[in-house]
Amino acid sequence: MNYLFQRLAMAVMLLLAVSALTFGGMNLLGDPLFNILGPVAADTSNPTSVAKIDAAKEKYYLDRPLPERYVRWLGDMVTGDFGVQFSSTGEPPVTNLLKERTPRTFQLLVLAQFMATAISIPWALIAAARVRRPTDRISTVTSFLLIALPNFALGIILKYLLGIKLGWFPLTYTASDPFFSRLHQLILPALTIALPAAAVYQRLLRTDLVTTLQEDFILMARSKGVPRRRVLVRHALRPSLFSFITVFGINTGALIGGSLIVETIFRVPGLGSAIVEAILREDFPVVLAIVMIATTTFVLVNIAVDLLYSVLDPRVRR
């Protein structure tokens, strides 16, 4: 419990640091007033512009010192309010935009991680069962190639082969479609994220399985007459899952980044397109909100991974 408390305290500090850096960086390097008002912001000779500038400063708290604005923003964020967009109207609130976009990216990532797990575990079991034989060699080469293939390249290849040539999957995402056809539309982008991830997981899991299979308890199980397949799945798999789970957590960060690119290739209007649009408009509250969501998810997944250890391996429990 003490350990969990430490981890959580550390996570909170980390998120504070990330948010302060992002908030400070965006406000010091960017020009919020210009993003809200446009060219009017620079026009201080005209009284109507000055009135507008003052009104905007008042409304968006730009006349307050930076630390105060940060604390204000932080207080709102903790209660689930991400503030107003930096546009002339400030509408819709950032929270509404996030409510619309986040579930799509979330579904995409969950589907991708699910696919990656579903592909990598059987793949690793087969490879480990045939260590150093042709099947294993081919699978090692395949995973090496998949890992070297950038996600945007894989996306284009899949889009060309499965989407255009074979026509199995639609090329774009339609937000208004019913759930199952949206799921169908998410398969290609999810596969683009899942395949390289599966290759990474497979590599790790295979190595750990090979090590586990050398252990005495495996020999014991085999000599009791437990069939090979059952030994692999029932005895060897669970103690071999550690690096797999760690990397599953660490990889979430990379997958969040990857999903931004994949979303643009397959036109999924999720957080990826939202952050790109926001950056081009220099709509800082939206950027900040998405950075915070991505970082928080990443940190939480890694804590969850740590907790999973003790579930999987009673030896870690104290």
């Binding site: 080469v141 390249a153 290849i157 690096s243 290739i265």
Partner: protein, 296 residues
């Protein structure tokens, strides 16, 4: 093919891998290095090679571009009838510069911080480790997006941004390597002979830390080149000129992909082989020098 074990620093006992104590670097390494040298040479010498002008429109009267691969255009042309072969080679110039500058920056800053953290320990180590942890907890691409959008999208900014992403992984490796050497006899010997901290770091530790870092440099260069491609897809790559990422993006629309797949696939192929060669060469160096604890 390399063993996956080294990838994560998970050590496989020798008994698990009988007869695999390989101390040869292998032909694959030389093939990879040849490809890398070839691409680098082509990129450096591009203006003097007998290539078509990458910006000229080679329209054949009475027909509509894009043209498929042929003798005159080995990789075909794009929608504006520009020769893809020479565009891929000229694109390599920018992509390789970005990769090289990025990883050099990461190596110098990250390596320096890592060695200092590993050598001085105590609060120095703790401070540097916290900074690296913060760097690592940003999803990498989001950090790159933030910096490029806040500053500008020049060649230098993008290279340095990608270099910042390399600081944490390089730093952790350098720190781990330094920790493992800092207590060894030759360091103690140097210290008892009266060598200063600076001298010990530069003359005793650095040469030992450089080898694992060299393997990481090749992998990191591949990562930086790919990351630039990712930025291109988000519309955040360099504004002027073209890179492999931008070339791939140029043919990535559904209609272009359907009628002229070569526009995207030609740069994808070259990018892929280059990344593959860098990864493989890096892996081989790592295995050859038996480096553990690398994680990217």
């Amino acid at each position: 093919m390399s063993e996956p074990s080294a990838e994560t620093g998970v050590t496989v006992p020798m008994a698990a891998e009988p007869g695999r104590v390989q101390r040869r670097i292998g032909i694959g390494f030389w093939l990879s290095m040849s490809w890398i040298v070839l691409v680098v040479l082509a990129a450096v010498l591009a203006p003097w090679l007998p290539l078509k002008d990458p910006d000229a429109n080679y329209i054949v009267t009475g027909t509509r571009p894009p043209y498929g691969p042929s003798w005159t255009h080995p990789f075909g042309t794009d929608q504006d009838a520009r020769d893809l072969f020479s565009r891929v080679i000229f694109g390599a110039r920018t992509s390789l510069i970005i990769g090289f500058v990025a990883i050099s920056f990461g190596m110098i800053i990250g390596g320096g911080l890592g060695i200092i953290a590993g050598y001085y320990r105590k609060w120095v180590d703790r401070t540097i480790s916290v900074v690296m942890l913060i760097l690592l907890s940003f999803p990498a691409l989001i950090l790159a997006i933030l910096i490029t959008s806040l500053i500008d999208r020049g060649l230098f900014t993008i290279s340095v941004t990608l270099g910042i992403l390399a600081i944490a992984p390089v730093g952790r490796l350098a720190r781990a390597a330094t920790l493992s050497f800092a207590e060894r006899e030759f360091v103690t010997a140097a210290r008892s002979l009266g060598a200063s901290n600076g001298r010990i770091i530069v003359r005793e530790l650095l040469p030992n830390v450089v080898i694992p870092m060299a393997a990481l440099a090749l992998l990191g260069m591949a990562v930086a080149i790919v990351a630039e491609g990712g930025l291109a897809f988000l519309g955040l790559s360099i504004e002027k000129g073209f890179t492999w990422g931008k070339l791939i993006l140029y043919g990535a629309g559904a209609r272009d992909l359907e009628r002229a797949p070569w526009i995207s696939f030609a740069p994808i192929l070259v990018l892929f082989i280059t990344v593959l060669a860098l990864n493989y060469a890096g892996d081989r160096i790592r295995d050859y020098f038996d480096v553990k604890e690398i994680s990217l």
